[in-house]
Subunit: 212 residues, 2 copies
């Protein structure tokens, strides 16, 4: 199913997400939510580009659009990777554990799968921060007629970051490698702090430009 | 375009949302985001229903799923209505304003369109609160194996509420009827306060059940 996620209609995606099937689950739905936030940032970038009034910001806006479209492509890829990491993790539980060798192999596979099922959502979270970062920059010069949509992009992407981080939280306790865990938790704290700061700055500008 | 929004593939929807076309814009994208949050609440409801371990909560879970699927249907309808309200509002600006009669008719049409373009996103926001409310209830008894996805539902739906409210904020300043404006602002305050409270309660339970 993973490969064709973005080829599904919204109706079908929502139906399968709402069903008792575990995938799509919170991590990959968060990634889809993030693409929608990103699309609003790209739209305002495009509306800035298309308007002569903002000619002096044309290069900035083009750079924003190019980067955000790249983030959307990356999120699509990570959505699939997140489903695969989940399936791989579930697969490990079916590995045999009769001999000592099998037990050791299973234990190692479990550690590797838990790490992968942590790193993929963490990468989705990082991409969400990048979107909030673009929204923050665009809130300074983006087309005033659509400035509220920069706020939509910032808030939706931050929420996607926070909701996707729950997938990190689920898997971290299973990981034995404590150096790895320490790095993940430090990155989590950095992502939350930066996203909140940049979303706050973007929203303050959006609210001011909307007339307070 | 409005009628077929949910029949579009995710790829196509994201592409058109990211383009310089004003629709889909912040309000309707927020509604789509809300359906994704709702789908996670429904999934956990279904996973609770499907598991014998939660048999004592079967009726509650069935009620939750039925209501949330109804909210998704309502949001799909409101997504279309939001696009139509935006188009209708834009249409008013093209009305003639040569005679006094034309001016008066245009002024009245503008007031009506501004009200409609406020009430529709406000209704989307109310439905977002209903989703957070369902997440809060489900966080008390939902299937532990998927409890983090209740958190995803609550956070995504609250973000959709906040981002959709920007569409209310845009249109309120154009409305002359101050009684109407007062009611809208009171409802906005209620929705924000309730959603934050219920999301906080839901998230507290989710975090505790995930092991803190």
């Amino acid at each position: 199913m993973a490969q064709q996620v973005y080829e599904m209609t919204l109706n079908d995606f929502i139906e399968i997400a709402a069903s008792k099937s575990h995938t799509p689950g919170g991590g990959n739905v968060s990634a889809v939510v993030a693409t929608l936030g990103a699309s609003m940032v790209a739209m305002v970038g495009n509306l800035t580009l298309a308007n002569k009034k903002y000619e002096e910001h044309k290069d900035q806006a083009q750079g924003c659009v190019d980067r955000v479209m790249g983030m959307i492509a990356k999120l699509k890829d990570l959505t699939v990777k997140d489903m695969e990491a989940f399936d791989a993790y579930m697969g490990v539980f079916k590995m045999p554990k009769d001999t000592d060798e099998e037990k050791a192999a299973r234990k190692q596979a479990m550690e590797d799968a838990a790490k992968q099922a942590t790193l993929v959502p963490l990468e989705i979270c990082k991409t969400c921060l990048d979107i909030v970062d673009e929204a923050d920059a665009l809130s300074k010069y983006g087309n005033l007629m659509a400035i509220s949509d920069v706020g939509v992009g910032a808030m939706v992407a931050e929420a996607a970051l926070r909701s996707c981080m729950l997938s990190v939280d689920i898997n971290v306790p299973s990981i034995k490698d404590q150096d790895f865990v320490r790095d993940v938790l430090a990155e989590k704290a950095r992502l939350f702090t930066q996203a909140e700061k940049l979303r706050t700055l973007a929203m303050a500008r959006v609210i001011e430009k909307m007339g307070g």
